[in-house]
């Protein structure tokens, strides 16, 4: 505790860069995965290709990807960009699948009524399909957020600043307190991110709060059930 207070500025600075490396991929993955999922829905062949490419990239271990990317991107090995791109790749691979499930779970009747009311395809996608997919989309995002927070620490092995620095430094200095501070800090960040995502989801889905019974109706799709234990 004493060590934590004495080193508070460093803890905060490292938490800051940790958050940047975890949040940016999360945001980027939404921007990339949603259009890809819609493309995959419209074109089955392309969809199969996108999904299998995603699961192949997903299989590449992060430490390997962190060091391969500088070779491809021409970045330095210490750049944040490597971590951000790597985590974005994992996040997109995961999110395309759950977004696809989410879009497929939208009731066809709703879609047809929107068309009948005169919505054009893009308009309908943005105003009807996408909002209705938010619960499933967010359950995917929450899984990714926890995993990102944890994966960012691995960058410390390459010398990229994050709370993972306390692990490598603590080991070299034979100082367990420092490692514990790093672990607790990581858990706190994961919890905070999860809270933010839950709040954001509530803001984006006001209709779910007013619906009196069955508040979990849209979240009861297979995708959500497929991610048990995310709530921690």
């Amino acid at each position: 505790m004493q060590w934590f207070l004495a080193n508070l500025p460093q803890v905060l600075a490292l938490s800051g860069s940790h958050l940047v490396q975890a949040v940016v991929p999360l945001a980027l993955s939404v921007v990339i995965a949603v259009p890809l999922a819609q493309l995959a829905r419209l074109n089955k062949g392309l969809g199969a290709f996108i999904l299998s490419a995603g699961s192949l990239l997903y299989t590449v271990p992060s430490l390997a990807l962190f060091v391969i990317l500088p070779g491809i991107l021409g970045t330095k090995i210490l750049d944040f960009a490597n971590i951000i791109v790597a985590l974005t790749i994992y996040a997109v691979a995961l999110l395309v699948r759950s977004t696809l499930d989410a879009l497929n779970s939208v009731d066809d009747g709703v879609r047809q009524s929107a068309t009948a009311m005169g919505f054009r395809p893009l308009q309908r996608f943005l105003a009807v399909d996408l909002p209705l997919s938010v619960p499933v989309l967010f359950s995917g995002l929450r899984v990714i957020s926890v995993s990102n927070i944890s994966l960012v620490t691995v960058g410390a092995l390459l010398g990229i600043p994050s709370l993972g620095f306390f692990f490598t430094d603590g080991l070299q200095r034979n100082f367990p307190t420092e490692i514990v501070v790093g672990i607790v800090g990581t858990l706190v960040l994961a919890l905070l991110m999860d809270l933010v995502l839950v709040l954001l989801q509530r803001l984006l889905t006001p209709w779910l709060r007013t619906a009196t019974p069955a508040p979990t109706a849209p979240t009861a799709t297979p995708t959500t059930a497929a991610q048990p234990g995310v709530a921690a």
Binding site: T59, G71, V146, T153, L157, G170, V180, Q227, G229
Partner: protein, 247 residues
């Protein structure tokens, strides 16, 4: 302590990586690529053996009886949020000998237990209750229901959880090189230390190939092991199957 350095005639990261990979000196001796692959798979196998021994019985019990559901789900969620690198370094410091293997293995077990546990539990509890009732009314005992009905029916999901555990463990074993153990991570850690980018990249490519090959084998096994009577159980949740929490 490390391989004889490859003398690069090529320039550029990928040309160097290729040269490192094709240098015969790197494919032999006690620190060559085959030995490191064996170490890597050995650590992974030991971890998975312990994890299965812990997680499968608990998952079967919880799935079969429905008792302790909440505890299992929240415990698994908590374990997922733990950074394995931190746990590994902490265990390594707390261990008596700095070079022992078990601290790293235990931290990897913490990583592998949640997917196996939730997979087993979800697989068992997703079995159609009517099938279970039918088995009971035929006079099967609890044990018979579990092993002859619930396990075969839930096998696809159970193996999905196992496959995801394998993926995460094989990826994370690359990190144990940092606490002075072997495995394929050695090439990355050693290469970084001496700024030998060819070795770093070559090692990374080997890790990626091993992970992809192993995942492919498991996908095939999963397909073969599941009873043909259960063709594509549409809508069956694949619990946490492909969530990457750790390297």
């Amino acid at each position: 302590m490390s391989l004889p350095a490859t003398t690069y005639t090529a320039t550029g990261p990928f040309a160097e990586g290729w040269q490192w990979l094709t240098d015969p000196a790197n494919w032999q001796g006690p620190m060559g690529i085959p030995v490191r692959i064996t170490e890597h798979l050995g650590y992974s196998a030991l971890t998975l053996l312990i994890s299965v021994a812990i997680a499968v019985p608990i998952g079967l019990y919880v799935g079969h009886t429905g008792r302790g559901r909440v505890v299992v789900v929240s415990l698994a969620g908590l374990l997922r949020a733990l950074p394995t690198l931190g746990i590994m370094t902490l265990f390594a410091l707390m261990a008596t000998s700095t070079l022992s293997l078990m601290p790293a293995i235990w931290s990897l077990v913490l990583l592998a237990v949640p997917p196996i546990l939730t997979g087993t539990y979800a697989g068992i509890s997703a079995v159609d209750p009517q099938i279970v009732d039918a088995a009971r009314s035929m006079g099967m005992t609890g044990r018979q229901v579990l092993f002859r009905v619930e396990v075969p029916n839930g096998l696809a999901v159970i193996l999905g959880g196992f496959r995801s555990a394998v993926l995460q463990v094989v990826a994370t074993v690359a990190v144990v090189a940092f606490i002075s153990l072997g495995g394929l991570g050695r090439f990355i850690i050693d290469g970084l230390a001496v700024q030998d980018y060819g070795q770093v990249l070559g090692g990374a490519v080997v890790i990626a190939c091993v992970a992809i090959a192993l995942d492919g084998v498991l996908a095939l096994l999963q397909r073969l092991a599941v009873s043909p009577g259960l063709k594509e159980p549409a809508g069956t949740p694949e619990p946490a199957a492909r969530t990457r929490i750790h390297p």
